[in-house]
Amino acid sequence: HDPATMSVFCEVPQAAPVAVFKLSQDFNNDQFPKKVNLGVGAYRTDECQPWVLPVVKKVEKIIVHDDRLNHEYLPILGLPEFRSSASKIALGDDSPAIQENRVGAVQCLGGTGALKMGAEFLRRFYNGNNNTKTPVYVSAPTWENHNAVFANAGFEDIRSYKYWDAEKRGLDFAGFLGDLESCPEHSIFVLHACAHNPTGTDPTHEQWKQIAETMMKRNLFVFFDSAYQGFASGSLDKDAWAVRYFVSMDFEMLCAQSFSKNFGLYNERVGNLTVVARDADNLKRILSQMEMIVRTTWSNPPSQGARIVAITLNSPELFTDWKDNVKTMADRVLLMRAQLKAKLQALGTPGTWDHITEQIGMFSFTGLNPKQVEYMVKERHVYLMTSGRINMCGLTTKNIDYVAESIHEAVTKVQ
């Protein structure tokens, strides 16, 4: 047998690398001393270092010294204390829906895993059985993995709803509403709970109210992606306003939560799919089906990260510590936004830069076009996504001048 003829995989094509990780790779390989990484979405301190939250360090010590803890399997749906406290974070302690016993949750592998579970469930049971033709709407633009998550779950018709207005560098609300009015009934909409990725532009409360009204009227399905609660404004409650409003308007909905950013637990894959159902009976049946989906995907979720979050959320003292840590991160981002805008204005960089401080969360859509981005990367060694998205966390008091100058050059030299 000639091995060369035996391969079943000789036809497997080389896939393109995932852009955001390739960017980091290129950054890592770059030798330029003043290089700046404004690509991947992870928090950095003012020394440009990853930050393990002090509360997380505290809790990890607690775990390591607790001899009662072992490494046994978690239940299929995850650690119960984690699931309930995580849902409370999203919906509020006093949520009527929780009191009515119609809120449940599935512990998942990060926000991605929560979206995946939700998508799989919807594909099987929403709008009929296995109705892969139900349109799924994601914002234009959106996190680049949204499309793949729903496509891989089997949905055949993934569309975008108008969101970012490049000209005015803000929300195209009329376009958004228009899409809500004209889309097929029962379409699924993926909404960013706060700190929209990648634009940093969120609807106002009034706009959310109109969105909710239209979605209710047109029987559209609400699927929230909440990856930055607390991280956006520094306040957990403020950042959860939209999710809670929709719950109060009686939507049956899903909310994918990530604790990667607000707990800095990126690599422990801590996520939660909160399910808000009509009543306890529906919830019970939904969760039983979720178990079946979990079982064939990862059987049961990883324990470490969920433990850290559960212990933190369930201890008043540690919970306060955590909120402080979150505010520290949010405040640094807000400071960098203010400083970047001020420097660009001081440089007299053409264009308006109000959007830098009007936008919220980790990311900013600078408005730089692909050619200008290429200039930034190649000539200035400032790494950002082709979309013009920058991670504000990559900015520090030490590199902000260099970045501001680089943006100035890109905008003035490259059209």
């Binding site: 079943v8 036809e11 990853p50 490494h71 046994e72 995907t297 990862w298 990883p302």
Partner: protein
């Protein structure tokens, strides 16, 4: 005329009611739920066993359903090497940045070395791709998705019986399942002739799943000579081999011996797929540590396959969890932790083997005239006792011994303290 008018009136009445009915129905739907049609999922049979066990108040109750190791006091066992590794890791104060999609490099490298042997030519030539996965299930799922995308539409052949979750995993990934004979209920052993016969008829290029060691649920493994013949016939039929190795080290106590079949097949030229789990052999169950390997023709092909695996993984969970992989890598790559681990895994396997021997001895002592040799012939965590459903039911009802209906017991739930009781119970229901 009267009849016609009545018919017209009736029709009108019906139409009106119909419209009212639909209106009410629609309104009801609006205030009702999207999920009215969602059925209650079937209860997990194994979980069901555990739940029933929990409810039982009999002090002598035994849980022989669970597939997790227990020490001789019936308690979960956290390996010392794991605790030591955790201490080392905590002291390093590492960050929590995202892992690469394919996982922790030190883990995937040592994971492949563990399975294939450090000096394996496959590793030297770089013609394998090994990615970190969410334990064994996650590994099988990624493999199934990969096959579905790049090797479809071909069927997957499972041994009869196989781990209950194999079927839904492959099915969910879009593959069809078939079976080849494996377990012989008349001998409680390996149906070698039946297996060879069935395998010889499998359509070319189909996928054949093989349990590397400690077959789940039967505990029945082929002998080396039998593996050789299986390899030959699989080669003849040009089948794609997918090994599931969830018990390396845990079966015989020797990691190389347990990996023998995997290494033999590679030597024989099979470019295999391999799923590994560290749930049992390192006791890292809830940390979800596993690996998925594709042995390719060459390093170039491995790169292409790797790129596609990343594309599959990203929309499921983006990148894998760090904690367990870091523990496993630390153990495998730190000489004295690795030695300690080998001792401890040997210890776990030995305890199981000893319980098998004591069970057989106990049954003899009880006066059982049945042949219980299969209990010691079988290997690994599980034992297919040969008990029939009615006997299992009696064992549960009368003795509070909990196990699955197919007669499978988890030897891990047997201790020196309760093996006599178990022998007594089994004898009572089989005499």
């Amino acid at each position: 005329d009267f009849i016609n008018r009545s018919q017209d009136e009736l029709l009108t009445l019906f139409s009106v009611f119909h419209v009212i009915h639909i209106t009410i129905h629609l309104t009801w739907c609006f205030c009702s739920s999207w999920w009215g049609g969602v059925q209650m999922g079937p209860p997990d049979p194994i979980l069901g066993v555990s739940e029933a066990y929990k409810r039982d108040t009999n002090p002598k109750k035994m849980n022989l359903g669970v597939g997790a190791y227990r020490d001789d006091q019936g308690k979960p066992f956290v390996l010392s090497c794991v605790r030591k590794a955790e201490a080392v890791i905590t002291a390093k104060q590492m960050d929590k940045e995202y892992l690469a999609i394919g996982g922790l490099g030190e883990f995937t490298k040592s994971c492949a070395q563990l399975a294939l042997g450090n000096d394996n030519e496959v590793l030297k030539s770089g013609r394998n791709i090994t990615v970190q996965t969410i334990s064994g299930t996650g590994s099988l799922r990624i493999g199934a998705n990969f096959l579905s995308r790049f090797h479809g539409p071909r069927d997957v052949y499972l041994p009869k019986p196989s781990w209950g979750n194999h079927t839904p995993i492959f099915r969910d990934a879009g593959m069809q399942l078939k079976a080849y004979r494996y377990y012989d209920p008349s001998t409680c052993g390996f149906d070698f002739k039946g297996a060879l016969d069935d395998i010889s008829k499998i359509p070319e290029q189909s996928v054949i799943m093989l349990h590397a060691c400690a077959h789940n649920p039967t505990g029945v493994d082929p002998r080396p000579e039998q593996w050789k013949e299986i390899s030959d016939i699989v080669k003849k039929r040009n089948l794609l081999v997918f090994f599931d190795m969830a018990y390396q080290g845990f079966a015989s106590g020797d990691i190389d011996r347990d990996a023998w079949a995997v290494r033999y097949f590679i030597e024989q030229g099979h470019n295999i797929l391999l799923s590994q789990s560290f749930a049992k052999n390192m006791g890292l169950y809830g940390e979800r540590v596993g690996g998925f390997t594709v042995v390719c023709n060459d390093a170039e092909e491995a790169k292409r396959v790797e790129s596609q695996l990343k594309i599959l993984i990203r929309p499921i969970y983006s990148n894998p969890p760090m904690n367990g992989a870091r523990i496993a890598a630390t153990i495998l790559n730190t000489p004295d932790l690795r030695s300690l681990w080998l001792e401890e895994v040997h210890g776990m396997a030995n305890r199981i083997i000893k319980m098998r021997e004591e069970l057989v001895a106990g049954l003899k002592k009880e006066g059982s005239t049945h042949n219980w040799q299969h209990v010691t012939d079988q290997i690994g965590m599980f034992c297919f006792t040969g008990l029939k459903p009615e006997q299992v039911e009696r064992l549960t009802k009368e003795f509070s011994v909990y196990m699955t209906k197919d007669g499978r017991i988890s030897m891990a739930g047997v201790t020196s303290g309760n093996v006599g009781y178990l022998a007594n119970g089994i004898h009572a229901v089989t005499k």
